[in-house]
């Protein structure tokens, strides 16, 4: 890491907690130290995987995209110029683009959809101890969510699964909080409509 960047970080550290300082140092070291990078990776693996699996509903696809995210992060780490607190957002931004790219491939999207149905059936048939109602709800959610625009999918997952604030989502997607508020409002309305429609067609869910 260049000296100027180090200075920038030091100047910003006045308002950081010690934990953030520790992580900021870790990010700095991770640029040229494989041990530090490994530590950083382990710290954030679960965050990235969970976001991907909430977006893709399949752990194989989620693992594929998680791999892509960390590979991109590794190569772009020295371009990350920010606080440790922003690092998770930076990774989730990469993850959002990676998931969107993944879904953009129509064939792959169809495959995802197919797997959704297949997995749900398999779980329903063989996993006797599972809650069938929850699995059915999951299938409805998958179909409804994946039919939305990618940006709406992202805000739904950030808000309802990753429990992120509007400002954090805004930072991730490089939009203003008011834009995110609008997107979230439209996304929830559309998703509710789809879920309700599915429920009406297939029976009571809630």
């Amino acid at each position: 890491m260049k000296a100027e960047m180090c200075k920038k970080w030091i100047q910003r550290q006045t308002n950081l907690t010690l934990s953030e300082i520790e992580q900021t140092n870790l990010i700095q070291r991770a640029c040229s130290d494989t041990d530090a990078f490994a530590q950083l990776y382990l710290l954030h693996y679960n965050n990235v995987f969970n976001y991907c699996v909430h977006r893709l509903f399949d752990h194989h696809h989620a693992e594929d995209v998680t791999s892509t995210v960390f590979l991109k992060a590794m190569h772009g780490l020295d371009s990350f110029d920010g606080r440790a607190a922003n690092f998770r957002n930076w990774l989730l931004c990469i993850a959002t683009n990676a998931v969107n790219d993944y879904l953009r491939d129509a064939k792959r999207r169809a495959d995802v959809m197919q797997r959704v149905v297949k997995n749900t059936r398999a779980e329903s048939v063989f996993d006797i101890s599972s809650d069938d109602v929850l699995l059915e709800k999951k299938a409805h959610l998958k179909q409804a969510l994946l039919s939305l625009k990618p940006k709406y999918q992202a805000v739904i997952v950030f808000h309802f699964f990753e429990k992120m604030k509007l400002t954090e989502i805004a930072a991730c997607l490089d939009k203003s909080p008011s834009t995110i508020r609008t997107w979230l409002s439209r996304a929830t309305a559309k998703l509710r409509k789809k879920l309700s429609a599915d429920v009406n067609n297939g029976g009571s869910i809630l």
Partner: protein, 577 residues
Amino acid sequence: MNDNEKYIEEFVKDIPFDAPDDKHRDTLKKQLLSAFPKHRLQPTSRTFRLRKIIMNKPIIELSAAAVVIVAVLLGVYFVGNPFGSNVTFAQVVQPILDAKTAVLDIIVGQDENGPVIHDMVMGSRIRRTMSNAQDVVSIIDLETGRILVLTASSRDAVYIDLKSLPSIPNYLDSLKNVIARLQESPDFSVEELGEQDMAGRKLIGFHAASPKLDVTIWADPRTALPVRIEQMEGQLKVICRNVHFDVPMDQSLFSMEVPEGYKLQQTALDLMGATEQDFIEGLRIRAQALGDGTFPDSVAVEDYLKEAPAIGQKIGELGLSEKEQSELGMKLAKHLLFIRFFKGEGKWHYQGRGVKLGYANMPIFWYRPKDSQTYRVIYGDLRVEDVVPENLPEPALPEEKTDKGVGYQQWSKSEFVGTQEDLWYITASGQIEILSDVTLRKGPQGAATVAIALPYSSGTVQSVTLANGPVPFAQKGGGQYQLQLPLEKLLAGHTNIHCKWTLSLDQLEKADYGYQVTLRSLIPVSSYKLTVALSPDCGLEFSKDPSRKQWVPFTGNSLGSPGTRFGSCGIEVRKRK
């Protein structure tokens, strides 16, 4: 939250999703690290500091991996014993006396699963390999005091002339003479240990002891052939196992000639010449260059042997030139030789585990030089003081020593349990730097995630390590953290977790006598110990004894099952007068 959001929140509640898979996480980690951009692997600032340390002294011409040389030397366990001439003993030692050749495995220390030194012996020469450095072969000629180290992968050959090595014409003679020397002692005694099952074999044991030597020989009761020899030398335990005598071997295996195509280097090492300053220099290197600023867990030879390959790899990653690597290796060799051929009176004591380099008031090592009335005490800032016996630091509790080596067990319960020692170091800035040293004893089957809770919610974890490797941790709020432990290391016996955390002194409850401290362990423990140390410039002193640099205000055991709460205790400090 509007109606739509409420609806969705309710809808998604409890829907199950796949959890992250440890296997994928680990596989991806390996893939990423192997693809890490090489051009970015630059020497770190630590390398520059190290370079400065090294460049203070002339560089010797040596390009072999000196760390391996150290390991080789450490295995020469009988060097330095005086040798007698009378050779008589009981029936079980007769094969040793008659043997012309031998093959044996040597273990240094208590851990039989640790690295194994494999020796083939013929006359004065030993052909030696180590289980954790398999491309290195050493031929040791005890008669001329010379070692030839051959590294196959780099095709390096190094002759090392060992100074202070007494000429030993025959390796097996030295073994015989250890027994002979025992016999010469007026206090010599032999105790029959009876028959025991060892590694699936029924063996009969004899314990032979004198004030200076201690040998246990296990033999096959049917053939009277010794198969295992255990020897205590000072604080070092050496076990020879799988011993076979008179095994036919080709003499060419013991050649001191350098094979064709090898690059030859030469150096010399004085086995008995290591000084206190060499030892201190090694401590500095191990803390500053090879560690994270804290001293190693142990300076014992057996522990170094286990770590030698990892240390070698670490040195390789520092970006040093071959010369610098060699010089560093030789410095470490001298550091270890100080312990290996310890020349002080009685035992040495080490308490540097987890202590940061620079902690001026923390004694980390002490010993009594030969014929001295006072002890030499080395502190965390590596200064040395002469200390009278009554002012020596308190040694570790006896029960901690017996705990060592118990290992880690998986059990049916859902919690992790262990023991904990805390070191609270009060600094000049009003911060307390705390090292919680947790030794895990038991944990749930297959579980690697452990939740810890700091006794103060405002405390902040700085780092967590296990077996010198970082442990990932996630903050859960309110002083609670989740650690992701490497299960394979735990199961391999690495059970010490070093958790470094900080706390503002203001957070402690003030009292007339100083401060009142909440005693709470990070996980349920069966015993808890708190040590408080004061930085010289923190402006405080211990009220009862201002000359003291550290104090143990609490040691306690959990009654019944392991617990986390041990009440509270006072730290009696006042402003320095």
